[in-house]
Protein backbone atom coordinates (compact mmCIF):
# COMPACT_ATOMS: atom_id res chain seq x y z
CA UNK A 1 0.00 0.00 0.00
CA UNK A 2 1.49 3.33 -0.98
CA UNK A 3 1.55 6.31 1.33
CA UNK A 4 -0.14 9.58 0.46
CA UNK A 5 0.20 11.74 3.56
CA UNK A 6 -1.78 14.95 3.76
CA UNK A 7 0.39 18.03 4.24
CA UNK A 8 -1.26 20.93 6.07
CA UNK A 9 0.60 24.19 5.55
CA UNK A 10 1.02 26.68 8.39
CA UNK A 11 -0.17 30.17 7.34
CA UNK A 12 3.14 32.10 7.26
CA UNK A 13 1.72 35.50 8.22
CA UNK A 14 -1.29 34.74 10.41
CA UNK A 15 -0.08 31.73 12.39
CA UNK A 16 0.00 33.65 15.69
CA UNK A 17 -3.78 34.01 15.68
CA UNK A 18 -4.03 30.25 16.08
CA UNK A 19 -3.50 30.20 19.83
CA UNK A 20 -3.54 32.80 22.64
CA UNK A 21 -0.06 31.72 23.72
CA UNK A 22 1.28 32.75 20.29
CA UNK A 23 -0.34 36.17 20.69
CA UNK A 24 1.33 36.49 24.08
CA UNK A 25 4.65 35.65 22.45
CA UNK A 26 4.10 38.20 19.68
CA UNK A 27 3.23 40.91 22.19
CA UNK A 28 6.54 40.24 23.94
CA UNK A 29 8.39 40.45 20.62
CA UNK A 30 6.63 43.70 19.66
CA UNK A 31 7.77 45.37 22.88
CA UNK A 32 11.33 45.05 21.59
CA UNK A 33 10.45 47.54 18.83
CA UNK A 34 9.96 50.17 21.54
CA UNK A 35 13.24 49.22 23.16
CA UNK A 36 14.93 49.54 19.75
CA UNK A 37 13.22 52.89 19.04
CA UNK A 38 14.38 54.18 22.40
CA UNK A 39 17.98 53.25 21.55
CA UNK A 40 17.64 55.27 18.33
CA UNK A 41 16.34 58.20 20.40
CA UNK A 42 19.37 58.00 22.69
CA UNK A 43 21.72 57.95 19.69
CA UNK A 44 19.94 61.04 18.33
CA UNK A 45 20.46 62.69 21.74
CA UNK A 46 24.17 61.88 21.59
CA UNK A 47 24.32 63.30 18.06
CA UNK A 48 22.65 66.51 19.26
CA UNK A 49 25.11 66.71 22.14
CA UNK A 50 28.04 66.35 19.76
CA UNK A 51 26.61 69.15 17.59
CA UNK A 52 26.86 71.63 20.42
CA UNK A 53 24.86 73.34 23.14
CA UNK A 54 22.15 74.80 20.96
CA UNK A 55 21.20 71.62 19.21
CA UNK A 56 21.25 69.69 22.50
CA UNK A 57 18.90 72.18 24.10
CA UNK A 58 16.57 71.90 21.12
CA UNK A 59 16.66 68.14 21.59
CA UNK A 60 15.78 68.48 25.29
CA UNK A 61 12.92 70.80 24.41
CA UNK A 62 11.60 68.34 21.85
CA UNK A 63 11.60 65.68 24.56
CA UNK A 64 9.02 67.72 26.47
CA UNK A 65 6.44 67.67 23.69
CA UNK A 66 3.22 65.71 24.41
CA UNK A 67 4.08 63.26 21.63
CA UNK A 68 7.45 62.56 23.16
CA UNK A 69 5.93 62.09 26.61
CA UNK A 70 3.37 59.66 25.20
CA UNK A 71 6.19 57.75 23.50
CA UNK A 72 8.18 57.63 26.75
CA UNK A 73 5.24 56.25 28.69
CA UNK A 74 4.58 53.62 26.01
CA UNK A 75 8.28 52.70 25.79
CA UNK A 76 8.50 52.46 29.57
CA UNK A 77 5.56 50.06 29.80
CA UNK A 78 6.93 48.01 26.90
CA UNK A 79 10.38 47.84 28.47
CA UNK A 80 8.91 46.79 31.83
CA UNK A 81 6.92 44.02 30.19
CA UNK A 82 9.88 42.91 28.10
CA UNK A 83 12.23 42.87 31.10
CA UNK A 84 9.86 40.93 33.36
CA UNK A 85 9.32 38.21 30.73
CA UNK A 86 13.08 37.73 30.49
CA UNK A 87 13.73 37.88 34.21
CA UNK A 88 11.05 35.26 34.76
CA UNK A 89 12.75 33.11 32.12
CA UNK A 90 16.17 33.24 33.81
CA UNK A 91 15.12 30.60 36.32
CA UNK A 92 14.79 27.96 33.64
CA UNK A 93 17.71 29.20 31.53
CA UNK A 94 20.25 29.37 34.35
CA UNK A 95 19.56 26.69 36.95
CA UNK A 96 22.01 26.55 39.84
CA UNK A 97 22.67 23.21 41.53
CA UNK A 98 24.02 23.27 45.06
CA UNK A 99 24.73 19.82 46.42
CA UNK A 100 22.03 17.60 44.96
CA UNK A 101 19.31 20.22 44.92
CA UNK A 102 18.58 23.07 42.61
CA UNK A 103 18.22 26.60 43.97
CA UNK A 104 14.50 27.57 43.83
CA UNK A 105 13.71 29.34 40.56
CA UNK A 106 12.12 32.27 42.34
CA UNK A 107 15.49 33.08 43.94
CA UNK A 108 17.21 33.26 40.56
CA UNK A 109 14.56 35.48 39.01
CA UNK A 110 14.33 37.44 42.29
CA UNK A 111 18.08 38.13 42.24
CA UNK A 112 17.69 39.65 38.76
CA UNK A 113 14.92 41.92 40.01
CA UNK A 114 17.07 43.03 42.95
CA UNK A 115 20.05 43.84 40.69
CA UNK A 116 17.69 45.64 38.31
CA UNK A 117 16.27 47.78 41.13
CA UNK A 118 19.75 48.62 42.45
CA UNK A 119 21.05 49.58 38.99
CA UNK A 120 17.94 51.71 38.42
CA UNK A 121 18.59 53.59 41.67
CA UNK A 122 22.22 54.17 40.63
CA UNK A 123 21.12 55.49 37.22
CA UNK A 124 18.52 57.77 38.82
CA UNK A 125 21.14 59.09 41.27
CA UNK A 126 23.67 59.65 38.45
CA UNK A 127 20.98 61.50 36.50
CA UNK A 128 20.68 63.83 39.46
CA UNK A 129 17.00 63.24 40.05
CA UNK A 130 17.48 63.29 43.85
Amino acid sequence: MSRKPLIREVPPTTWYFRHPRYLRYMSREITSLFVGAYCVLLVCGLGALADGKESYEAFLLALQSPLSIAFHVAAFIAALYHATTWFNATQVAMPIQIGENFVPGSWISGAHYVVWALLSVVVILLAGVF
Binding site: I7, W15, H19, Y25, E29
Partner: protein, 247 residues
Protein backbone atom coordinates in the same frame (compact mmCIF):
# COMPACT_ATOMS: atom_id res chain seq x y z
CA UNK B 1 -21.29 6.10 37.90
CA UNK B 2 -22.50 9.03 35.85
CA UNK B 3 -22.84 8.70 32.09
CA UNK B 4 -22.93 11.59 29.64
CA UNK B 5 -23.55 11.88 25.93
CA UNK B 6 -20.25 13.07 24.46
CA UNK B 7 -20.24 14.86 21.13
CA UNK B 8 -17.04 14.47 19.16
CA UNK B 9 -15.99 16.30 16.03
CA UNK B 10 -13.24 14.18 14.52
CA UNK B 11 -10.87 14.94 11.65
CA UNK B 12 -11.03 12.28 8.93
CA UNK B 13 -8.68 11.69 6.02
CA UNK B 14 -8.51 8.62 3.88
CA UNK B 15 -5.43 8.67 1.61
CA UNK B 16 -7.08 6.22 -0.81
CA UNK B 17 -10.08 8.40 -1.57
CA UNK B 18 -9.57 11.93 -0.19
CA UNK B 19 -7.50 14.89 -1.29
CA UNK B 20 -8.23 16.85 1.86
CA UNK B 21 -9.57 16.26 5.34
CA UNK B 22 -13.07 16.75 6.67
CA UNK B 23 -14.81 16.53 10.03
CA UNK B 24 -17.17 13.82 11.16
CA UNK B 25 -19.51 14.07 14.15
CA UNK B 26 -20.11 11.24 16.59
CA UNK B 27 -22.22 10.99 19.72
CA UNK B 28 -21.37 8.34 22.29
CA UNK B 29 -22.45 7.76 25.84
CA UNK B 30 -19.39 7.81 28.12
CA UNK B 31 -18.65 7.61 31.80
CA UNK B 32 -17.75 10.97 33.27
CA UNK B 33 -14.35 9.71 34.48
CA UNK B 34 -13.26 8.49 31.06
CA UNK B 35 -10.58 10.10 28.93
CA UNK B 36 -10.85 11.18 25.28
CA UNK B 37 -9.09 7.98 24.21
CA UNK B 38 -11.87 5.91 25.83
CA UNK B 39 -14.47 7.90 23.90
CA UNK B 40 -12.59 7.30 20.62
CA UNK B 41 -12.32 3.61 21.39
CA UNK B 42 -16.04 3.43 22.05
CA UNK B 43 -16.72 5.16 18.72
CA UNK B 44 -14.49 2.62 16.99
CA UNK B 45 -16.12 -0.33 18.75
CA UNK B 46 -19.75 0.70 18.48
CA UNK B 47 -20.17 3.26 15.69
CA UNK B 48 -17.38 3.38 13.16
CA UNK B 49 -14.67 0.71 12.89
CA UNK B 50 -12.92 2.68 10.12
CA UNK B 51 -11.72 5.41 12.49
CA UNK B 52 -7.92 5.33 12.87
CA UNK B 53 -5.83 6.54 15.77
CA UNK B 54 -2.72 5.37 17.62
CA UNK B 55 -2.47 4.33 21.23
CA UNK B 56 -0.88 1.68 23.34
CA UNK B 57 -0.34 2.18 27.07
CA UNK B 58 -3.38 4.25 28.15
CA UNK B 59 -1.21 5.73 30.91
CA UNK B 60 0.86 8.57 29.44
CA UNK B 61 3.95 6.41 29.03
CA UNK B 62 4.21 5.27 25.41
CA UNK B 63 3.64 8.70 23.86
CA UNK B 64 1.65 7.42 20.89
CA UNK B 65 -1.80 8.96 21.48
CA UNK B 66 -0.88 12.61 20.86
CA UNK B 67 -3.59 14.61 19.05
CA UNK B 68 -5.07 18.10 18.96
CA UNK B 69 -7.94 18.28 21.43
CA UNK B 70 -9.87 21.51 21.11
CA UNK B 71 -6.83 23.01 19.40
CA UNK B 72 -4.35 21.98 22.07
CA UNK B 73 -1.71 19.25 21.60
CA UNK B 74 -2.54 16.63 24.24
CA UNK B 75 -2.31 12.94 25.05
CA UNK B 76 -5.78 11.49 24.47
CA UNK B 77 -5.23 9.05 27.34
CA UNK B 78 -4.47 11.91 29.70
CA UNK B 79 -7.35 14.22 28.79
CA UNK B 80 -10.42 13.76 30.96
CA UNK B 81 -13.89 14.14 29.49
CA UNK B 82 -15.09 15.85 32.68
CA UNK B 83 -13.00 18.91 31.75
CA UNK B 84 -14.79 19.28 28.41
CA UNK B 85 -18.44 20.26 28.81
CA UNK B 86 -19.15 20.98 25.11
CA UNK B 87 -18.34 19.32 21.79
CA UNK B 88 -14.79 17.98 21.71
CA UNK B 89 -12.88 18.62 18.49
CA UNK B 90 -10.22 15.98 17.84
CA UNK B 91 -7.62 16.47 15.09
CA UNK B 92 -4.25 14.94 14.20
CA UNK B 93 -1.21 16.74 15.63
CA UNK B 94 -0.46 19.83 13.57
CA UNK B 95 2.92 20.32 11.85
CA UNK B 96 3.08 16.64 10.88
CA UNK B 97 1.76 15.02 7.69
CA UNK B 98 -1.48 13.10 8.23
CA UNK B 99 -1.19 9.45 7.37
CA UNK B 100 -4.87 8.66 7.96
CA UNK B 101 -7.53 10.21 10.24
CA UNK B 102 -5.76 10.99 13.55
CA UNK B 103 -2.56 9.16 12.65
CA UNK B 104 0.41 11.38 11.78
CA UNK B 105 3.78 10.53 10.22
CA UNK B 106 6.60 11.08 12.72
CA UNK B 107 9.40 10.33 10.18
CA UNK B 108 10.88 13.83 10.30
CA UNK B 109 11.09 13.76 14.10
CA UNK B 110 12.76 10.34 14.00
CA UNK B 111 15.38 11.61 11.55
CA UNK B 112 16.11 14.62 13.71
CA UNK B 113 16.32 12.55 16.85
CA UNK B 114 19.09 10.49 15.26
CA UNK B 115 21.02 13.57 14.24
CA UNK B 116 21.61 14.72 17.84
CA UNK B 117 23.20 11.32 18.69
CA UNK B 118 21.04 10.56 21.73
CA UNK B 119 23.31 7.97 23.25
CA UNK B 120 26.38 8.01 25.46
CA UNK B 121 29.51 8.80 23.48
CA UNK B 122 32.88 7.96 25.02
CA UNK B 123 36.25 9.11 23.74
CA UNK B 124 38.06 6.77 26.11
CA UNK B 125 36.01 3.58 26.17
CA UNK B 126 36.94 1.60 29.23
CA UNK B 127 37.14 -2.18 29.02
CA UNK B 128 34.15 -4.16 30.27
CA UNK B 129 36.21 -5.68 33.12
CA UNK B 130 36.52 -2.25 34.67
CA UNK B 131 32.80 -2.29 35.30
CA UNK B 132 30.16 0.32 34.71
CA UNK B 133 30.60 4.08 34.48
CA UNK B 134 29.48 5.22 37.89
CA UNK B 135 27.44 8.26 38.72
CA UNK B 136 26.39 10.05 41.91
CA UNK B 137 22.76 11.05 42.61
CA UNK B 138 23.85 14.66 42.13
CA UNK B 139 25.15 13.89 38.65
CA UNK B 140 21.96 12.01 37.83
CA UNK B 141 19.80 14.97 38.84
CA UNK B 142 21.62 17.22 36.36
CA UNK B 143 19.86 15.48 33.47
CA UNK B 144 17.04 13.33 34.89
CA UNK B 145 14.27 15.77 33.97
CA UNK B 146 15.36 15.68 30.31
CA UNK B 147 15.49 11.88 30.32
CA UNK B 148 11.75 11.72 31.06
CA UNK B 149 10.72 12.49 27.47
CA UNK B 150 8.24 9.97 26.06
CA UNK B 151 8.70 11.13 22.42
CA UNK B 152 5.05 12.07 22.11
CA UNK B 153 5.93 15.03 19.80
CA UNK B 154 3.31 17.28 21.41
CA UNK B 155 6.04 19.91 21.70
CA UNK B 156 6.57 19.83 17.91
CA UNK B 157 2.87 20.42 17.38
CA UNK B 158 3.01 23.34 19.81
CA UNK B 159 6.15 24.93 18.36
CA UNK B 160 5.35 27.54 15.69
CA UNK B 161 9.01 27.69 14.75
CA UNK B 162 8.92 24.02 13.74
CA UNK B 163 5.68 24.56 11.86
CA UNK B 164 7.20 27.36 9.83
CA UNK B 165 10.81 26.20 9.50
CA UNK B 166 11.02 22.54 8.68
CA UNK B 167 14.78 22.28 9.10
CA UNK B 168 14.51 23.16 12.82
CA UNK B 169 15.67 20.17 14.86
CA UNK B 170 12.93 21.00 17.37
CA UNK B 171 12.31 20.87 21.11
CA UNK B 172 12.35 17.19 22.12
CA UNK B 173 15.39 16.18 20.05
CA UNK B 174 17.39 19.17 21.28
CA UNK B 175 16.30 18.54 24.87
CA UNK B 176 17.58 15.01 24.47
CA UNK B 177 20.91 16.33 23.17
CA UNK B 178 21.04 18.39 26.36
CA UNK B 179 20.19 15.32 28.41
CA UNK B 180 23.31 13.55 27.10
CA UNK B 181 25.49 16.66 27.27
CA UNK B 182 24.59 16.98 30.94
CA UNK B 183 25.39 13.34 31.67
CA UNK B 184 28.68 12.95 33.53
CA UNK B 185 29.38 9.67 31.67
CA UNK B 186 29.13 11.30 28.26
CA UNK B 187 31.96 12.88 26.26
CA UNK B 188 30.10 13.63 23.04
CA UNK B 189 29.15 17.28 23.42
CA UNK B 190 31.59 18.47 20.72
CA UNK B 191 30.01 16.09 18.20
CA UNK B 192 26.49 17.18 19.10
CA UNK B 193 27.40 20.87 18.94
CA UNK B 194 27.76 20.51 15.17
CA UNK B 195 23.99 20.10 15.03
CA UNK B 196 22.94 21.86 18.24
CA UNK B 197 24.76 25.20 17.91
CA UNK B 198 23.52 26.01 14.41
CA UNK B 199 20.63 27.75 12.66
CA UNK B 200 18.84 24.39 12.50
CA UNK B 201 19.55 23.86 16.18
CA UNK B 202 19.07 26.08 19.21
CA UNK B 203 19.55 29.32 17.27
CA UNK B 204 16.32 28.70 15.37
CA UNK B 205 14.45 28.79 18.67
CA UNK B 206 12.95 32.19 19.51
CA UNK B 207 11.74 31.06 22.93
CA UNK B 208 8.01 31.01 22.39
CA UNK B 209 7.95 28.51 25.27
CA UNK B 210 4.93 26.62 23.93
CA UNK B 211 6.82 23.29 24.04
CA UNK B 212 7.18 23.45 27.80
CA UNK B 213 3.55 24.46 28.29
CA UNK B 214 2.22 21.38 26.50
CA UNK B 215 4.74 18.74 27.61
CA UNK B 216 2.71 16.12 29.52
CA UNK B 217 5.66 14.93 31.60
CA UNK B 218 7.20 18.33 32.43
CA UNK B 219 10.45 17.86 30.55
CA UNK B 220 10.54 21.64 29.97
CA UNK B 221 12.38 21.44 26.64
CA UNK B 222 12.49 25.26 26.41
CA UNK B 223 14.75 25.36 29.44
CA UNK B 224 17.14 22.87 27.81
CA UNK B 225 17.32 24.99 24.67
CA UNK B 226 17.98 28.22 26.57
CA UNK B 227 20.69 26.51 28.61
CA UNK B 228 22.32 25.27 25.42
CA UNK B 229 22.16 28.75 23.91
CA UNK B 230 23.99 30.17 26.91
CA UNK B 231 26.61 27.39 26.84
CA UNK B 232 27.09 27.81 23.06
CA UNK B 233 27.55 31.56 23.52
CA UNK B 234 30.27 30.91 26.09
CA UNK B 235 31.93 28.55 23.58
CA UNK B 236 31.93 31.35 21.04
CA UNK B 237 33.37 33.88 23.49
CA UNK B 238 36.10 31.42 24.49
CA UNK B 239 36.94 30.64 20.90
CA UNK B 240 36.92 34.19 19.51
CA UNK B 241 37.70 36.55 22.35
CA UNK B 242 40.03 34.73 24.69
CA UNK B 243 43.74 34.39 23.90
CA UNK B 244 44.57 30.95 22.54
CA UNK B 245 40.91 30.25 21.69
CA UNK B 246 40.22 29.21 25.29
CA UNK B 247 42.14 25.98 24.74
Amino acid sequence: MKERLIRLEVFRYNPDTDTEGHYQHYEVSCLEEWVVLDALNKVKETLDPTLNFRWSCHMAVCGSCGMMINGEPRLACHTFLRNYPGTIRVEPLVHFPVERDLVTAPDDFMEKLKRVKPWIIRKDKQPIEQGEYRQTPKELLRFRQYAMCINCTLCYAACPEYGLTRHFIGPAALALAHRYNQDSRDQGRDERQEVVATKEGVWECTFVGACSEVCPVHVDPASALQQMKIASSFDWIKEHLLPGGGK
